[in-house]
Symmetry: C4
Subunit: 213 residues, 4 copies
């Protein structure tokens, strides 16, 4: 057993570093000379991947904290599931890099909307990380609602149990983004951005006895 | 709703990582041999971009904390505006890199004070980030003063409301730095440094009922 | 003397940054074109090194916190031993990179299971870091149990003293992983992964008077 | 005015990230093949720069915290001096990289102990950062002892005032390391390591009324 404050502080640190490392994905155009503005323009896939992934990690952090704000005790399973979640979060700067690199390649030699085969694959890999996060987050929530005693006293354990598929929606939507990646890579990226904004403005709620917090 | 402590801790982490990643922008001269001292001297735009951007991020952190120190409750809009602010902060190591790269290029083939076309563009991009920060910070302050109930009890909400254009000055100054970038890139960079030092020594004040804190 | 909270916060930060820097080890395949999926597949040693080292650092963080959660006072020796421990943790992204690079090389020109000579050496270096951690952690625990007065009051100092070889098992297992590296580099990496999962699910316990925490 | 807790948390973050970024300075030998062990051996200046700079940043963090642990209030000058201190700390991974690069170059074509001209310059730059830190730390301590009211109540302000040259020793020693760099670069690096260990085991003390903390 372990108190949840430490797990949160560590997770916060990991989220904060991962979201900031995203910027290393965007390169400064080398020796662009007079063409700097044009070269910068060509980098739009890097900017798009940066903005979308920034919002994705930001919202994941918000959800992580909403949930852990109600966790008082941490058992080994929760600790391990949390590590598995962070394992995916930390990989996102790499996934964003992959998308930026191959969306850019898709610009030449094929229509923008469709993109190259590599762009499809890159975007499908990106979407797979979101499927992974949805699965681990769902497992984490199920563990919390099933055990019950890890929650703090504000939580209505019975009501929480009825929400155990709370994050199940992601298990349907995110596989769809993987499929969409093969139709249009840029559209799939845009959808990830849209989902992040949607989740930002429609935060998850947690069933509590009273309106504390 | 969410307590502001967590948002602050996460934002602190992001500020701290972003300010430290700045150093990755400065490269070690490769195989300089006997010319090491000279090669180091040639890197002055990297050092200048580093120092100025370090102070800029440092002061933004100070302002961010002064404001959030008076925030007790966080709603979805504030959370989202804060994410948008951090989106710009995290990009600053890239912007500093861009300036360092093209101020250096400006050294050869054109007068130092004027700089190359690329130096102008790089510096204008840098200034645009400051415009972006000023806009988001202003939006954030307006949201806080308009809603009022997010402040803690020390704040005189009526007086705070009258300061809702508090950060409006940046909306005038920073676009000017973008214009100045096209006249002289090094001067524009120096102005950003000067503004940071000015803000460091003239911290914003927040209208409180009493002198708590 | 120094309170342990600060040492923990600093150590937490270092663990969180080190675990996140691991991702920089995995490169995005350059100009893979149609071969992206195959190129990604060829990177399996990078993914394996990432996942295993992520779990290793994650579990080290858990153990570090379990121990420091019972430390109330910090003397100079503890401070120095803690710095020595972090010195090894911070180096792990480099060790993971080394393994990823030379396990990949081992793929061509020699059997996968055996690997190249370079793969053996890389994996032995990796294992040596674990030996180093085991030695420092053991020294740290011995210092804590020998002095006794650094623990908080929940700890049964006498019982703790009898556990002073608690981390001694690692002093036997980890040198074995170094030896195994010369037999099969991939097996040695897998063993490190297995040990991390084992430690994750079988957390160390600390002898306390009562069941506080 | 600003409470010191936030300044500490931010500074902690910066110290933790800077100390961890040090590892990026050490490269993995590329395509070493059978020569991996030898190639790793050739990298000793990188390892030396890493270990010494790790200890230097670690001890600076300890001193920073010992001092700020007694600071209750933060004025604008202190805030600015602290930013200037961090400006130097963040640059250390670059300075370590510089030393590693040019100590390695010094290996060939000149005696190891003496090193190349570039090695002297690199080491002198490294030492200059320590001079810079000593100056800023001394200025910070003088500001604290002169104003007095920023300390918390445990501090004996009169006694503290008499220690205002506490960090003055560094103002003598560190310039000597710069001079020593021109005699022998490796010796100068070793001296920095020795000073760090010395400071680790002989922590600064602060005059307090009673033995709190």
């Amino acid at each position: 057993m372990n108190d949840s404050g430490r797990v949160e502080a560590f997770s916060d640190g990991v989220f904060a570093v991962a979201i900031t490392l995203l910027i290393l994905e965007i390169k400064v155009p080398a020796e662009a000379g007079d063409q700097l503005l044009r070269e910068l323009g060509h980098q739009w896939p890097s900017y798009a991947a940066y903005v979308v992934t920034f919002l994705v990690i930001g919202i994941m952090w918000v959800n992580h904290h909403t949930v852990f704000g109600f966790v008082e005790r941490v058992d080994r399973t929760l600790l391990f599931l949390n590590l598995l979640l962070l394992l995916g979060v930390v990989a996102l700067p790499w996934a964003a890099s992959l998308v930026a690199e191959y969306l850019a390649e898709g610009q030449e030699g094929s229509s923008l909307l469709h993109g190259s085969d590599a762009a499809h694959i890159a975007m499908a890999v990106y979407g797979s990380f979101m499927v992974y996060h949805a699965v681990v987050f769902q497992a984490l929530w199920m563990h919390l609602t099933k055990t019950g005693h890890l929650f703090d006293s504000r939580i209505d354990t019975e009501a929480a149990r009825r929400t155990r598929w709370r994050f199940g929606l992601g298990l349907i939507i995110y596989p769809c983004t993987v499929a969409l990646a093969f139709v249009s890579a840029p559209l799939a990226l845009a959808l990830h951005g849209g989902l992040a904004v949607y989740y930002a403005l429609n935060q998850i709620s947690v069933p509590v006895h009273d309106t504390a917090s």
